[in-house]
């Protein structure tokens, strides 16, 4: 099962693979000559309740907070298999009050020149089987259509009918991480 998903499409993970214990979500990008753009890209995950809000600031997983308190979602310090960043998600450890795990990308506001995600040549996300890194699904190139955006909700891994599904979101924000944090209730 390898599905290439467009924005808004989803795939049933545990329905298709009943023994699935979790996924590794990989994010990869191509910036061309824009090296500074790549240096300022940050991948993060938010553990959200049924209302789509983060349980707390401790449930924002990124380079400076490598795991949630239950260690159900962890950012890997070294990504493999061609991904630039990877997040590991263990389904049995996800707190019961968490309904969805949202993976996002943002440009950190830095001291350098301002950039936008419109300069990305490629950005994609994929889901791998946690047990053997077998690829289960991947998104289309989400860079198409980006312009002045400085943050992007990439995908969601969410509970559905007692199992878990994977959905490609691809929704951009011109308000950067502030906009994302506001939508998902992450206190900055």
């Amino acid at each position: 099962m390898i599905a290439v998903l467009r924005r808004g499409s989803n795939v049933a993970l545990t329905k298709e693979i009943p023994g699935l214990t979790g996924v590794v979500v990989g994010v990869r990008w191509k910036t061309g000559r824009e090296e500074v753009l790549g240096e300022n890209l940050v991948v993060a995950a938010v553990l959200c309740d049924a209302g789509g809000k983060a349980l707390s600031a401790d449930h924002f997983v990124f380079f400076n907070q490598l795991s949630d308190p239950a260690t159900s979602v962890s950012q890997l310090e070294q990504a493999m298999g061609g991904d630039d960043e990877q997040l590991e998600m263990r389904f049995d450890g996800v707190p019961a009050q968490v309904s969805r795990l949202v993976v996002m990308l943002y440009l950190n506001e830095s001291n350098g020149l301002r950039r936008t995600l419109g300069r990305l040549r490629e950005i994609g996300v994929r889901a791998l089987d946690l047990r053997d890194n077998r690829e289960l699904a991947r998104s289309e190139n989400l860079a198409k259509g980006l312009d002045a955006e400085t943050a992007l909700a990439l995908c969601e891994v969410y509970r559905h009918g007692g199992g878990w599904k994977f959905k490609v979101v691809g929704e951009g924000y011109t308000t950067g991480v502030r906009g994302l944090a506001g939508d998902y209730g992450v206190p900055l």
Partner: protein
């Protein structure tokens, strides 16, 4: 003393600004790799690292900004200047505002604020008002002993 959360310590810019235009406002830093120097607009050192397109610390007149996207490379900082500037205002990316009192003699260099990176959380502490004769003396007093100095106020380029 104020402890920023890991999110506050790792997102956007941390801005440190003198309440009024300050004389010789600057900061000394130590990176996780051990490199150490100062950033001070009036001394002509406006960024750290001094070269590159993505500076971690940038000085503009009476304001310094720290890129927290690089906070894992940062070990500690002190902010200094000539006292009598009123207050030092620290603003997080999310808009939290912390005012540090600026007191001390109107001559000499006073360290106003220290910032320590403790396992990903930035700890900000207002420092007691003790003036040193030079920037070098002030840095030495806070253990910034890896800076190579050209003179009493300027490091080797």
């Amino acid at each position: 003393m104020v402890i920023l959360s890991r999110v506050q310590s790792g997102v956007g810019l941390l801005t440190v600004e003198a309440g009024r235009p300050a004389a010789r406002l600057g900061c000394a830093y130590v990176l996780a790799g051990g490199q150490s120097s100062i950033v001070c607009h009036s001394a002509g050192i406006v960024s750290a690292p001094r070269t590159g397109r993505n500076p971690m610390i940038l000085a503009r007149h009476h304001k310094l900004t720290v890129d927290l996207g690089q906070s894992r490379r940062l070990a500690r900082l002190i902010f200094y200047g000539v006292a009598g500037v009123g207050s030092l205002v620290v603003t997080t990316f999310g808009g939290a505002r912390i005012e540090a009192p600026v007191a001390g003699p109107n001559a000499g260099i006073t360290v106003f604020l220290s910032v320590y990176n403790v396992d990903g959380e930035l700890v900000l502490r207002a420092e007691p008002p003790n003036a040193a004769a030079t920037v070098r003396n002030a840095c030495d007093a806070y253990g910034f002993d890896r800076i190579s100095w050209r003179d009493e106020d300027n490091p080797v380029a």
